[in-house]
């Protein structure tokens, strides 16, 4: 990575939340360096998930700006230009809430390819991704209710990688999972990052995990000293 390359992701003085009068994220700035794995550590309910959603262009901030490769982001969600949206791969805590129950895991993994008109690539890419995250052909043929949380989360990670994102955002990706599945999913992310050079923002509450996984781990309070934990966790 050349030293002059702009950071893949930069948040400047972001304020965001679901109630303008009580934003959970207040005046937060954060920069993700090229190829870097950054951990964002905080208790649940502190606003770190909201920040992750802003960073992944899934939630429009009330104030502040987000720069993607140095370029200012102007639209969020479907208003974001496709090239910006597809720069991200996002994995959430609860795979059940993030997976269409009607789809087989294979269809789930290939969803982003179909949505971007790259259906033809789907079979080969799905196979590749399944190998990366450790899903067997038998599991790929099943629907979410027929697999465990860990297996479904593997599929959600594969889906997040389908379009070869340059930035991965993992929001409490392994909070519900056992130690071996956690280590396996992190290994899959790191495999992907090693071959792609993608940067990572891993959001979580487990210090031991983030410090082991990431190049650098920042505490939420260091980023947002003014913000108190929201009540109600």
């Amino acid at each position: 990575m050349s030293a002059e390359a702009p950071p893949p992701l930069q948040l400047r003085a972001v304020t965001a939340g679901y109630d303008r009068r009580a934003p959970v994220v207040r005046d937060v700035s954060f920069t993700l360096a090229p190829g870097e794995a950054a951990g964002l550590l905080g208790p649940s309910g502190c606003g770190k998930s909201t920040l992750a959603r802003v960073a992944a262009l899934l939630h429009r901030p009330d104030a502040g700006e987000v720069l993607l490769d140095g370029e200012r982001v102007r639209g969020w969600r479907h208003r974001a230009p496709r090239a910006q949206r597809t720069a991200f791969g996002v994995v959430f805590q609860q795979p059940r809430l993030a997976a269409d129950p009607r789809l087989t895991l294979a269809a789930l993994v290939a969803e982003p390819l179909r949505a971007t008109g790259r259906r033809a690539e789907a079979p080969a890419r799905t196979e590749e991704l399944a190998a990366l995250v450790g899903l067997t052909p038998d599991l790929l043929a099943r629907r979410p209710h027929e697999v465990s949380d860990g297996q479904l989360q593997r599929a959600c990670l594969a889906r997040a990688l389908a379009l070869r994102p340059r930035i991965l955002v993992c929001d409490e990706m392994t909070a519900m999972l056992d130690a071996s599945t956690t280590a396996a999913l992190v290994a899959a992310v790191e495999d992907y990052r090693r071959t792609s050079g993608a940067a990572l923002l891993a959001v979580g509450h487990d210090r031991t995990l983030l410090e082991r996984w990431c190049d650098r781990t920042v505490g939420w309070h260091e980023l947002a000293p003014a913000v108190k934990s929201a009540p109600g966790g």
Partner: protein
């Protein structure tokens, strides 16, 4: 059922005599307990196979394993909460009462809440959303105890206090509670009937680490008060913090049953799967066990761990029996198999290579942690 509200100490002499305290008999005794599910076309899925285990009053056994290993089915079976198509075998004695053969009326009237309390996985979902914590506690106190009407309020408050649920939050609704407080509310409900046996099903899932520790310490307090606690969890750190003994479950069987201090410290686990599980922790090797756990409906013959095991030999084609606490043909010796392992200093040197693929169970792979075995 008298004096329920008076009795807050299950181990006190006024506690039920039928749980065997004082006679040396365990509180809970599972004897070759099995559960299988009848599937279409005459197929069966074995979820729990031949589990033998005892639990004493004042003891905590942590039942650990990956999701889908059968550990939650075991808890459901003990409470009579299995679906219609389940069949059980063997025995599970809670005092003189055999749970697997007990009918629903008996379980509802005598067991659930009174002799066995469930601390559920997602307390927020377990609590009734439209009623305050006070209203739910009061109802359970009325249901399970003979508290006179005018004392119900005080009894509900006492119940909250036993689980360290703050009195000034009693009038809140479940959605107004943090995860930790919802967990305490659920624990308070489980304790109302003074059950000698507590079953906790993944009580710490999704909680922050300090909340995990608080929850676990509060549960330990119940154990120290004389409750027997069977805690089902995939959280090894929580298990280490609370348990006297650890039972490791794999593919429906207990593969290792060990003293917690020996298991988490020296000499460490003896079963290859249990060793792999510990070595997956980020504070240890952070190395996943290769492959995936088998489907309970399609178990390999012989040792179910063989497709993922680096130590498998021809002998492993036969299912190993649980002998001296381990079900393996090639267990690590009981002592000095794994040298006491210094916790790896964080962030020194290059990170652990993470190249372990987790594809289908292939030929045994050299574990990256081989150097520490």
């Amino acid at each position: 059922m008298t004096d329920r509200t008076e009795r807050t100490e299950p181990a006190s002499p006024t506690g039920p005599t039928d749980r065997g305290a004082g006679t040396g008999a365990p509180l809970l005794a599972l004897d070759r307990m099995s559960v299988r599910f009848r599937m279409p076309r005459g197929r069966y899925v074995p979820a729990v196979t031949d589990v033998s285990l005892t639990l004493d009053p004042g003891e905590c056994v942590a039942l650990v394993g990956e999701s889908g290993c059968g550990k939650s089915v075991l808890a459901s079976a003990l409470l009579g909460l299995l679906p219609e198509n389940a069949e059980t075998a063997g025995a599970a004695h809670l005092g003189e009462l055999e749970l697997l053969g007990a009918d629903e009326t008996e379980l509802a009237r005598r067991v659930r809440g009174r002799r066995a309390g469930l601390i559920p996985q997602s307390p927020a979902a377990h609590l009734t959303p439209v009623r305050t914590v006070r209203s739910q506690l009061t109802e359970v106190v009325r249901e399970l105890t003979d508290t006179p009407r005018r004392e119900l309020r005080a009894a509900a408050e006492a119940a909250a206090e036993r689980a360290a649920f703050p009195a000034d939050h009693l009038d809140r609704y479940p959605h107004e509670l943090s995860g930790g407080l919802a967990q305490r509310a659920a624990t308070a409900l489980a304790l109302v009937g003074g059950p000698p046996l507590l079953l906790a099903d993944e009580p710490t899932t999704g909680l922050d680490r300090d909340l995990v520790e608080r929850t676990v310490d509060e549960l330990r307090r119940q154990v120290d008060d004389g409750h027997g606690l069977l805690m089902i969890t995939h959280d090894l750190a929580a298990a280490e913090r609370i348990a006297d003994r650890v039972a490791v479950m794999y593919a429906g069987r207990i593969v290792e049953l060990a003293d917690a201090a020996a298991f988490f410290g020296a000499p460490g686990p003896r079963h290859p799967y249990a060793r792999g599980l510990l070595d997956a922790l980020p504070e240890r090797g952070f190395t996943p066990i290769p492959g995936l756990p088998p489907e309970l409906g399609a178990l390999p013959p012989g040792c179910a761990f063989a497709p993922r095991c680096t130590y498998a030999t021809a002998a492993c084609a036969a299912v190993p029996a649980l002998t001296a606490g381990v079900a393996c043909h090639h267990p690590a010796p009981a002592a000095d198999a794994v040298p006491p392992r210094p916790r790896e200093p964080r962030r020194t040197g290059p990170r652990q290579p993470l190249k372990q693929r987790t594809g289908e169970p292939g030929p045994p792979q050299q574990p990256e942690s081989a150097d520490v075995r």
